[in-house]
């Protein structure tokens, strides 16, 4: 297709916290500066800026992309904000990728920012507008409903127990204990702790859910000829994919994320991957809820339908297992500042593949990883594959 090779050459992030002193602009700048410093570039080297951030309703700010633009380094540059719900954090680097792959730009700064704490009394209410205003919102739904409904359907279709799903939360929160930016890392949490946590919307309990958070992440993407001058260890974007399922979410199979499958197949085709289970060494599926990681692993073709819990039961998913899953700690452990959380997964692949992940490092010099996010009423799938 005449596309140029694109590498990630730098990354940076802030701590993920329940509520930050810094504004969205300030968080964006901190992450962007760290990303540029990490590859010894300055803003003068950047041709364009891509920003990812979730709905304006969180911040109560109109055109949030423009609002945080100074912190993101966008002043005086081509700038675009993308938004596909929770899938944004993995879509924004796809946008950066096609800016560079197309030959338009040589160096792109990709920033994802989220400040969820401003919304009162709880950010959950900002999500209510995703329900149809006429046929659903009149029922006074809350956001947990859709997850509880989907989780219950998933459990029922395949006969999966709450215990098996709780293992996901446990592993991710334990992994996050090694992450210096994590909000909910916990090295000693057990399955029983998850099962004993408060029931919010059965089958969803408190520890099944990722926390509302503030934070920002940034990466630097560069064309091949530039990337090779910048670093000896560029991490190449090998495949990207995105896909959308129906917005009539009650008219489709809730037990299987078809939109993730199609996005993943697009990315696998681009990367020339025929057998994902052998060729992917690290997976960072989107895990705002623990069952969601399982659901997405199946959509990513890394497990048969209904078999993803087995990866956690037999240790495959652990950091030193055959297919480490969310070695970062994921959204359940590190935190879930929506757009920033997705880009955190891409940054984690960058650090893991370069061997720079410190206490979180997956052994055996992993060569290739996949990051995925999902958005809106469980219908947007976004996927990035990166490798050496």
């Amino acid at each position: 297709m005449g596309m140029r090779k694109v590498a990630v050459v730098g990354a940076g992030m802030t701590r993920f916290v329940r509520r930050s002193l810094e504004t969205g602009k300030e968080l964006s700048w901190q992450a962007a500066k760290m990303a540029l410093d990490s590859c010894e570039l300055t803003l003068d080297d950047v041709d364009g800026v891509c920003l990812g951030t979730a709905p304006d309703s969180f911040d109560g700010v109109h055109m949030k992309g423009e609002y945080v633009s100074d912190g993101a380094g966008a002043w005086g540059k081509p700038y675009m904000r993308s938004y596909v719900g929770g899938g944004t954090g993995v879509f924004t680097p796809i946008q950066g990728w096609y800016h560079v792959a197309s030959g338009l730009f040589d160096v792109v700064l990709v920033v994802a920012e989220e400040k969820m704490s401003s919304y009162y009394p709880h950010a959950q209410a900002a999500f209510l507008t995703i329900f149809d205003h006429t046929t659903e919102r009149a029922l006074k739904p809350n956001l947990l409903w859709i997850f509880a409904l989907e989780m219950n359907r998933y459990m029922n279709t395949y006969g999966i127990s709450k215990e098996d799903i709780a293992r996901v939360s446990v592993l991710h929160k334990r992994n996050a204990a090694e992450h210096p930016c994590a909000l909910l890392g916990d090295a000693t949490i057990s399955v029983q702790d998850v099962l004993d946590s408060e029931v919010l919307a059965w089958p969803v309990q408190r520890f099944d859910v990722s926390p509302v958070s503030d934070g920002a992440v940034a990466i630097v993407m560069a064309a091949e000829h530039v990337a090779k001058r910048i670093t000896d260890k560029p991490v190449w974007v090998q495949g990207v994919g995105w896909h959308l399922d129906t917005s009539y979410w009650t008219n489709r199979d809730l037990a299987y994320p078809r939109y993730v499958e199609y996005a993943a197949r697009m990315a696998y085709d681009m990367a020339g991957i025929k057998e994902p289970r052998k060729e992917i060494h690290i997976a960072e599926p989107y895990d705002p809820f623990d069952y969601k990681a399982l659901h997405h692993l199946e959509g990513l073709q890394l497990a048969e339908r209904g078999q993803a819990p087995q990866l956690y039961i037999d240790g495959t998913a652990e950091r030193d297992g055959d297919l480490p899953i969310c070695p970062s700690g994921g959204l359940l452990g590190v935190g879930n500042p929506i757009a920033a959380a997705g880009l955190m997964k891409v940054a984690e692949l960058f650090w893991q593949i370069r061997g720079e992940a410190g206490g979180r490092q997956v052994p055996g010099q992993p060569r290739r990883g996949i990051a995925q996010a999902w958005g809106d009423l469980m219908q947007v799938g976004t996927v990035v594959i990166m490798g050496r």
Binding site: G10, A11, G12, T14, R15, V17, R18, R19, S20, L21, E22, Q30, A31, M34, S38, G60, P121, H122, Q124, F131, H133, T134, T135, E136, A138, L139, K140, P141, N142, L144, W145, A148, L149, E150, N152, R153, N156, P180, C181, V199, L200, A201, W202, P203, V204, G215, T246, Y248, T250, N251, R252, D253, L254, W351, E356, A357, G358, G359, R360, Q361
Partner: protein, 172 residues
């Protein structure tokens, strides 16, 4: 890189920093009011609800019956012209026992949101609604249910014209 960095930016605040005035903040309320047109497909659906009827739409090209009705088929992108009446019964596709409200206040008696597959629609095609007149512990996937309607003179042409779905009599 992360391994080399010892100090990450980002300063954590707690609720008490606000309540005790340790940080400055601005509080404001925004209020938005909207009146949404129902459109053609949903307009027909709501008119049907007012009559005590759940309507779907049939695409002859895809041979699918979807609910609620709409004017275009997502699958073939052809117009859907056949609005068809469905039953007011169905089966529980999935459900939740929800103990919190939208703003995270706690409930002692759970709400029971459910996706109900409507009889007459294609398989796995349902609507979001709530269950009632049922012991929460007795609800299960596959439960057959029937709509409980508001009295005719109180119906407004809204999804709430169905109060909730309850288990079908024959099972109890």
């Amino acid at each position: 890189m992360t391994a080399k960095i010892k100090h990450f930016p980002g300063t954590s605040l707690s609720e008490s920093d606000f309540s005790e005035g340790k940080v400055l903040f601005t509080y404001d309320e925004m209020r938005g009011e909207f009146a949404w047109d129902t459109g053609i497909g949903i307009g027909a659906y709501l008119a049907g609800l007012k009559r005590g009827q759940i309507l779907g739409a049939y695409c002859p090209s895809c041979r699918k019956t979807v609910v609620p009705p709409r004017v275009v088929c997502e699958w073939c992108f052809r117009p859907i012209e056949q609005i068809v009446p469905l039953q007011d019964t169905g089966i529980v596709n999935t459900f939740s026992l929800c103990y919190v409200t939208w703003d995270m206040q706690r409930l002692t008696q759970p709400e029971i949101p459910a996706v109900v597959e409507i009889d007459g629609a294609s398989p796995l095609h349902g609507i979001l609604h709530k269950l009632g007149e049922v012991d929460p512990q007795q609800v299960h996937v596959g439960l057959r249910v029937q709509a409980v309607w508001k009295p005719e003179d109180e119906r407004q042409g809204a999804i709430t014209d169905i109060l909730y779905f309850k288990p079908l009599e024959e099972q109890q």
